[in-house]
């Protein structure tokens, strides 16, 4: 007990302001804890008195995978958080990324229900193995804005199970395919998923079969991403859709079937699946930005030929090499990137494919700005010999942007004339001059926001240690040493005949004693005592001399059950604990409020200044008006026509 009070004394004497991090208001500490896993956040309860209740009001709960922990521990922990949290405090975001063997779906449902009843705004549930499917109605909530599910949903189409999410703006659904390959049957999305989502603006679907949908329609949707899904056969009704991303999706021959109804579409991103075929992409009238990632085929001699028709297309980005024909009158910026497209292929193999660039580049003949990344410039340099004999395909080029770190001098002369030769004013630059803001909306085209990886699995520690040749849990080694030191007779008859049985018994001894000794005196009851007495007698039969434990148990019984005064004492102590907790809670809320008050007062001053500025502007304007109309009576500038007209003098 000496250490904490000594430290306090030292701090007081030194007069320094230590431990300032603890003086932060709760909501800033919550912000810090929002980046940590729930386990780490809850463990801050052990840091100091001030930190003790902080986790109970933490509105950001992230549960990740807990390696090296038994399912019972994980379940117990989650139950404890649910029970011991401050129930007046709302939950802002809840993330679960767990294995079903650790957490039963019932517990998850209970937690989700709790969070929803506490104004939950963001929910992320990811179940990593096979489980009983969830009902949609589990997630109905008036406050939920962001929902991300990677689990099995009720697939029975007959059941009228749907959800009501009036505030939802972002939805991300990933399908967990079962272990058997023929479980595709379970991956249909039913229509009720897309009903009752009036405010949805971003939708991302991964790995679903959408072919059974009768309607594919959302009134407010602006961003849609489909990844590895089977496309719906019905018309796509998204009148406000601005960005569309199709990743690894089997595209129909004529894309206009899909795209014609998407009249407002501005950004289209296509990541072509690995089948080799030609594509005809006829874009909606307002499409500004198009990005295509080609599919890479090692051994095919057939390469995709992509024909694009888009009247207003302004920016085109290509990942990979493919032949293109772009019938686009207003093409401005073309961005060619090869970074990572060849994956781990060696340079010598890649060189064979680089020559394909000569099929690709002429497709961009009316581009005004070209941007290359490091790998594409390197590729072009490699094929300089080939480029020497070819005329420049570009006639309207203004700028060619080189990647950072690439010097103009490293461009071969053949490449230089290939790129710049056909355009009179073209130059190499390192930064394109900022003309439009459309370039930024290109980057914006992906639906995936920056998700901080909330689930962190803390490095596990080794669980077992050795005690006299027996393998026990590391936390018990100390316990056994202490028993050996004080009551060596315990192990006097501990035989080593059957080593395995001995180790088992030793572990049992440790677990029981450990649990027994940690029971608070207020929690003792006769049933429990009886149960432990049985355990102790079993252990005594196994050869341990536990008279000292039995003596203690007998004394406790005597104390606890034959003297009612002690019970009364315990009850008073409970009341004291409650009162203490309440006091601490109020004190920290008061400190919080004080800081907030000071902040607010400062903001009030600011608001006053801004108000005064506006008022003096008004006075100026009135006097301007007075001057302009030269009238003594500027009253009628503001008011009603009949003001003072018929009033008595």
């Amino acid at each position: 007990m000496g250490s904490p009070s000594q430290k306090k004394l030292r701090a007081l004497e030194a007069g320094d302001e230590s431990d300032r991090i603890s003086r932060l208001p709760d909501d800033l500490i919550h912000k810090i804890l929002s980046f940590l896993d729930a386990k780490a956040a809850v463990q801050t309860t052990c840091l100091s008195k001030r930190w003790k209740p902080v986790w109970t009001t933490l509105p950001f709960l992230n549960f990740g995978r807990y390696h090296n922990s038994s399912p019972k521990n994980v379940s117990d922990f989650i139950c404890n958080v649910l029970r011991n949290r401050n129930h007046h405090s709302h939950v802002f975001s809840l993330n679960f990324r767990v294995k079903c063997k650790d957490v039963s779906p019932n517990l998850l449902e209970e937690f989700v229900e709790y969070a929803i009843s506490h104004d939950l705004q963001s929910l992320r549930l990811e179940l990593l193995d096979d489980h009983k499917p969830f009902k949609l109605s589990t997630f109905s909530s008036k406050s939920l804005k962001k929902l991300e599910l990677n689990l099995r949903l009720q697939e029975c189409a007959l059941e009228s199970d749907c959800w009501d999410l009036p505030a939802l703006t972002t939805l991300r659904l990933s399908c967990v395919r079962g272990h058997e390959s023929h479980s595709r049957l379970n991956s249909w999305l039913k229509d009720s998923v897309f009903t009752c989502l009036p405010a949805l603006t971003r939708l991302s679907l991964h790995n679903w079969d959408l072919s059974q949908l009768f309607s594919f329609s959302l009134p407010a949707l602006t961003r849609l991403r489909l990844s590895h899904c089977t496309l719906p056969t019905t018309v796509w009704d998204f009148p406000d859709l601005l960005s569309l991303q199709l990743d690894g999706v089997g595209l129909p021959d004529d894309m206009s079937d899909i795209l014609f109804a998407l009249v407002k579409l501005k950004n289209l991103t296509l990541i072509l699946p690995s089948t080799q075929r030609d594509y005809f992409i006829s874009c909606p009238p307002h499409l500004l930005n198009l990005s295509i990632t080609g599919s890479f085929c090692h051994h095919g001699n057939i390469w995709s030929n992509i024909v694009v028709s888009a009247p207003k297309l302004c920016n085109f980005t290509a990942f990979g090499i493919f032949a293109t024909t772009i019938g686009v009158p207003e093409l401005e910026n073309v961005n060619i990137s090869l970074q990572g497209w060849f994956q781990n292929m060696e340079l010598t193999c890649r060189k064979r494919y680089y020559r394909r660039l000569t099929n690709m580049l002429p497709g961009f003949c009316n581009a005004k700005n070209l941007t290359f990344d490091a790998e594409s410039i390197e590729a072009l340099n490699e094929i300089s010999n080939l480029l020497q004999s070819l005329p420049s395909p570009f006639s309207e080029l203004k700028y060619v942007k080189l990647p950072t770190g690439c010097k103009e001098s490293s461009i071969s002369s053949a490449l230089r004339s290939y790129l710049l030769g056909g355009s009179p004013n073209a130059t190499f630059v390192t930064k394109l001059p900022q003309i439009h803001g459309v370039e930024d909306s290109m980057l914006d085209a992906s639906v995936e926001g920056t998700d901080k990886d909330q689930a962190s699995s803390l490095g596990g520690q080794r669980d077992s240690g050795l005690w006299r040749g027996h393998e026990v849990n590391s936390e018990f080694v100390g316990l056994l040493d202490r028993i050996m030191h004080k009551y060596p007779e315990t192990f006097k008859h501990f035989t080593t005949k059957n080593k395995k049985l001995c180790t088992m018994n030793l572990n049992m001894l440790c677990t029981s004693l450990n649990d027994l000794f940690k029971i608070s005196m207020t929690n003792v009851d006769s049933e429990m005592m009886f149960a432990y007495k049985e355990v102790i007698s079993y252990l005594q039969n196994q050869g341990f001399n536990l008279t000292w434990v039995v003596d203690r148990l007998t004394y406790i019984e005597h104390l606890r059950f034959s003297k009612p005064l002690i019970n009364e004492l315990y009850s008073i102590e409970c009341h004291i604990d409650d009162a203490k907790t309440k006091l601490q809670d109020l004190q920290s809320r008061a400190a919080d409020a004080k800081t907030k008050l000071q902040d607010l007062l400062a903001h009030v001053d600011y608001a006053k200044t801004r108000l005064q500025a506006k008022q003096s502007l008004r006075t100026e304007k009135l006097s301007e008006i007075k001057k302009a109309f030269g009238t003594t009576d500027a009253k009628l500038v503001v008011g009603f026509i009949g003001d003072d007209l018929l009033s008595n003098p």
Binding site: M1, S3, P4, K7, K8, A11, E17, S18, D19, R20, I21, S22, R23, L24, L28, K31, I32, L33, S34, F35, L36, K39, A40, V42, Q43, T44, T45, C46, L47, S48, K49, W51, K52, W55, S69, N73, F77, N80, V81, N84, T404, S456, L458, G459, S474, E475, G478, N514, K518, S520, Q598, D599, A602, D605, Y606, T609, R610, A613, K614, L617
Partner: protein
């Protein structure tokens, strides 16, 4: 005597002084707790929502008082905002942030409180992420050392808390 501070390379300060009359707009911010004045470009200062509102309402012609923020924190904040308005390359900014936030917990505390008050989201997010990283994966004792938290709990209280809420595990 007023102390005017120009944030940046001292060699460039004189050049900046000359440029003052050119088309860039400049503001003067004054931390009222310790009366330090800072001259900054408007484009840098408006990274703070609070300052931005003042500028938009025409209250920036004279010195803008900034309560609740200390002088040395203000200096650091302006350095941060300057870098973030000048540089758009994410990689460079990440490296800068890592270097910039290499501070002790007290300084981080000041930055956090000031960024919260001045409503500079980018800075607040960076600092809170940094503190979270500092305590990720660490035991309670280590966290107390890193963040200089005073331990006023008895060993029994700690044990009880741990038992009620966490794994039963020795740390």
């Amino acid at each position: 005597m007023k102390k005017l501070k120009f944030i940046g390379n001292p060699l460039l300060q004189s050049r900046e002084k000359i440029n003052m009359s050119s088309d860039k707009k400049w503001l003067t911010l004054k931390t009222t707790e310790d009366n330090e004045e800072f001259v900054v470009e408007e484009s840098v200062a408006i990274m703070s929502n609070v300052i931005k509102n003042m500028v938009e309402d025409g209250c920036a012609s004279s010195v803008i008082p900034v309560p609740r923020v200390k002088g040395n924190a203000m200096g650091k904040i302006i350095e941060f905002c300057k870098k973030h308005t000048e540089e758009s390359d994410e990689k460079v900014l990440k490296e800068f942030d890592a270097e910039f936030l290499n501070l002790g917990p007290d300084a981080l505390y000041d930055l956090m409180v000031s960024a919260n008050f001045l409503e500079i989201k980018v800075l607040l997010d960076s600092v809170t992420t940094k503190v979270a990283d500092m305590i990720k994966g660490k035991s309670s004792e280590e966290i107390r050392n890193i963040l200089k938290i005073e331990n006023d709990l008895s060993a029994e209280e700690i044990e009880e808390s741990r038992r009620e809420n966490c794994w039963t595990r020795q740390e």
